[in-house]
């Protein structure tokens, strides 16, 4: 054996050894301390303590996890079609995705706002934003379904959205891109400074029904709005927005919008704006077009209406409703603490975190402690508004959440960490690493007056080696930390779907007891409902055929249908007659271009089918419902265009075999 040979065997063996000892990908090894497992263990049959309502980012959905287990329970489609439950496919739900640009099947959902009463979570609705085609959606937390979507005119890149006031009076939505609006829209891009404007939309929320209405828009100078929070307690009646690109650049923003040492926080007195509206100072603008879609609770059918008017107020014309406050280096997060006194602004390129004081802002306005103006809006002197700066907190501060004991938790993208600091003294108390590059973070109740505390969850932008690899595309990594003690403690990694941005967490006790178990068949007012098999029928209206069908374990009625002709459009309106929790039925027919539908107990859903050939086509239940699920099926016969086969339908009828053919 040559020395070479011995050497190569040696190398081979040691590589094998490395391979096996290194079977977990390299990276930070377990940094959890003992006891983490039992803190996140939810025994079989037990419930989690919190719901975590998480934005899905580019999938346009919200997802629902349990905390502390990190288990995924549900995906709620909001701005995207969803094959799992037929959202955007069923005839009832298609109108939900209608916009002034037509049907948009996929958008980008970044932020969650849970409804509040007296500044606390009330568990009624979850709002989310569509970034690309600006919209705000409302999810009913009884049914976990999207029930309303409102499009926003004069908005472009609806990023600073949705944020909610302490009694859910308004959802606000600030535009990321400023754009030319009104009559004069076909203008050179280089005329940004002259022609481009931003808008802040104030959407009122009906306190009983939750129904949204675009109440008014504030027109602002052309800048980019990024994020926002409502005031609370003493600052209730105000809104705070972070803005960047006060350079008013329209190209290569990476460089051109990062020139100034300071951008701004815009403080808006919305109670004052309401007064001006009452005094008739609003301007009704009518050259707009935006869709308002909602599901009628009684019929369960979505309708879409196109609206053409919006009320506007120009903040530069009305001198005392808005003020700029300088803020270092492209501010991103803009968060108000539970007391409502402190506003934390995170310059994403800054090395400090400025904290502003609401009382000082008020005093500065009274004293007119201004430093000139920006496009006609007064700029409050930085020092006059400042409570203080958190020194050397980390690199790239983004977002801040709060607990009930006066602590703030800020995420740092560049240095991949969460830093805990004291809001009053501004002292850094603790820091933990995240894996990797945290974006948003969430403390249960963090944006409210009464945070529930206990945990902070990191929604990381980069996953790399945290899970088994699944090709170039990886699950996003969320991480759960305990914040009960002085030291934050990493408890759990859990993968998420889409790319979460903001999320909220709410005690399960505020939602679980109100959860809908089934729809009462007696209350079903769907125009094509068959409430009992006696009401099933097949009706021809010209070339449209409406099948009023029922589903119950384990048959569909009717299950034999004849008399359909090529060129017909067949609408299967399937009513699920079950009246028990967790017994949906599904429906699919061969050749349907529109996938399938899922029908909850007591509900009616419609599948449209345009047969493209003659023959006998099968249909069946797609949701395993009982021991005889595989028997839940039927046939529909399609004849040629000129055929004279009459419409007939039946279930359980056995005829003698026809003679001849």
């Amino acid at each position: 054996m040559t020395i070479n040979r011995i050497l190569s065997i040696g190398i081979l063996l040691s590589s094998i050894a490395i391979l096996f000892t290194g079977c977990k990908p390299k990276g930070p090894q377990s940094v959890t301390t003992s006891g983490a497992a039992e803190k996140v263990y939810v025994a079989p049959g037990q419930y989690d303590e919190f719901y975590n309502i998480v934005s899905g980012g580019f999938n346009g959905q919200m997802s629902i996890y349990g905390l502390p287990s990190g288990r995924l329970f549900r995906i709620i489609p909001v701005f995207s079609v969803f094959p799992e439950n037929g959202y955007g496919f069923s005839e009832e739900s298609k109108a939900m995705l209608n916009t002034s640009h037509g049907f948009v099947p996929w958008d980008d959902l970044h932020h969650i706002a849970l409804s509040q009463t007296n500044g606390e979570h009330d568990g009624r609705w979850a709002f989310g934003n569509a970034n690309n085609t600006p919209r705000v959606g409302r999810v009913d937390m009884k049914t976990f379904r999207t029930v309303e979507i409102l499009e926003l005119p004069n908005s472009a890149g609806n990023h600073s959205s949705p944020f909610i006031t302490e009694n859910s009076e308004y959802i606000i939505a600030g535009t990321r891109f400023s754009v030319p609006m009104g009559e004069n829209r076909d203008v050179p891009i280089s005329s940004y400074k002259k022609n481009f404007k931003g808008t802040l939309s104030f959407i009122s929320v009906n306190p009983q029904s939750g129904k949204m209405n675009l109440s008014f828009q504030l027109v602002t100078p052309g800048v980019n709005f990024d994020l926002s929070r409502a005031g609370k307690g003493p600052s209730h009646g105000w809104f705070f927005f972070s803005c960047y690109n006060t350079e008013q650049a329209y190209t290569l923003l990476e460089v051109n919008a990062s020139q100034r040492d300071k951008d701004f926080i815009l403080a808006v007195n919305w109670k004052k704006a309401e007064e001006y509206l009452k005094q008739g100072k609003g301007k009704k603008v009518s050259n707009v077009k935006y869709a308002h879609n909602f599901i009628d609770e009684k019929t369960d059918v979505a309708t879409s209406e196109m609206l053409n008017e919006v009320m506007q107020l120009d903040i530069a014309e009305l001198k005392d409703i808005a003020y700029f406050i300088p803020c270092p280096k492209s501010p991103h997060g803009c968060d108000t603490d539970p007391s409502g006194e402190y506003i934390v602004a995170s310059g994403k390129l800054a090395a400090t975190i400025p904290v502003f004081s609401f009382a000082k802002i008020q005093k500065a306005i009274t004293d007119k402690a201004y430093d000139g103006d920006f496009n006609g809006i007064p700029i409050i002197k930085y020092e006059a508004a400042l409570h203080g700066e958190v020194q050397k907190p980390g690199l790239g501060p983004l977002h801040t959440e709060f607990d009930a004991s006066g602590n703030a938790y800020t995420s740092f993208f560049v240095s991949s960490e969460i830093v805990k600091w004291d809001v009053k003294s501004l002292k850094v108390l603790d820091r933990v690493h995240t894996y990797y590059s945290i974006g948003h973070l969430c403390v249960p109740g963090g944006p409210t007056k009464k945070p529930h505390g206990k945990y902070v969850i990191a929604y990381n932008k980069i996953t790399k080696d945290r899970y088994l690899p699944t090709g170039p595309e990886l699950a996003q990594s969320a991480q759960l930390y305990s914040i009960d003690g002085d030291k934050m403690q990493l408890l759990l990694d859990f993968p998420t779907v889409g790319e979460p941005h903001y999320a909220e967490a709410i005690p399960a006790s505020l939602i679980a007891p109100n959860s809908t178990k089934f729809y009462k068949i007696e209350d079903n007012k769907h125009p094509y409902a068959a409430k009992g098999e006696k009401q099933t029928k097949v009706e021809r209206k010209g070339n449209q055929v409406h099948v009023y069908m029922t589903a119950i374990r384990s048959h569909l009625t009717p299950d034999n249908i004849e008399g359909i002709k090529l060129g017909d459009e067949v609408y299967f309106h399937v009513t699920n007659l079950e009246q028990d929790w967790d017994v949906p039925h599904g429906f699919a027919v061969k050749g349907a271009a529109n996938a399938e539908i899922l029908i909850m107990p007591g509900e009616t859903q419609t599948l449209k089918w345009k047969p493209d050939d003659v023959g006998v086509f099968p249909f069946y239940c797609t949701d395993f419902c009982s021991a005889l699920h595989q028997e839940m099926q039927g046939y529909i016969r399609v004849s040629g265009t000129g055929s004279n086969v009459p419409i007939t339908f039946s279930t359980g009828k056995i005829e003698e075999e026809p003679k001849g053919k």
Partner: protein, 158 residues
């Protein structure tokens, strides 16, 4: 021993913070007290089934307003599986059901079907025959009483 204390700790943890699991019907009966008198504690009669219906008073002649409501509930929630003849579809036909069963048994079967199918010997015999568990159609006590009246009419009572 350590283990036991640990489990108790966990149990307490969850007991304290997790929301209540949904209550079964037995724990929270939506029972209309005016319908039947309170039963004596010792009274256990297997022919009456299991549930909160202990005593049903039947009137003669049959109550037509109940029959009317009973028919519409039947058509909405029952007819998909039960015929009015003696023919079995998914479940048994209803012909003569009021002669085979006590009124209390029928109403308990309609309103407390999960427990009946798990514990009542007669209900279990029917499950073995039909092989499909009768679904809980969330029929209220009052509605069940109306259905019972309709069954009486279907069986020829005047």
């Amino acid at each position: 021993m350590k283990k036991i204390i640990f489990s108790i700790g966990i149990a307490l943890l969850f007991y304290n913070c997790a929301p209540d699991k949904p209550k079964t019907k037995e724990e929270y009966p939506e029972f209309d007290e005016s319908q039947t008198p309170a039963p004596a504690a010792s009274q256990v009669d297997p022919t009456k089934g299991i549930g909160i219906i202990k005593e049903v008073t039947l009137n003669k002649p049959i109550e037509q307003d109940r029959v009317k409501r009973g028919v519409s509930i039947y058509e909405m929630k029952c007819s998909a599986c039960h015929k009015l003849t003696d023919q079995r579809l998914v479940g048994p036909g209803w012909k003569d059901v009021t002669k085979r069963r006590r009124p209390e048994w029928i109403m308990n079967m309609v309103t407390n079907v999960e427990v009946m199918l798990d514990k009542d010997a007669e209900a279990q015999k029917l499950l073995e025959l039909c092989l499909t568990r009768m679904p809980n159609q969330n029929v209220s006590i009052g509605d069940a009483r109306d259905i019972l009246e309709f069954m009486r009419q279907n069986d020829g009572e005047k």
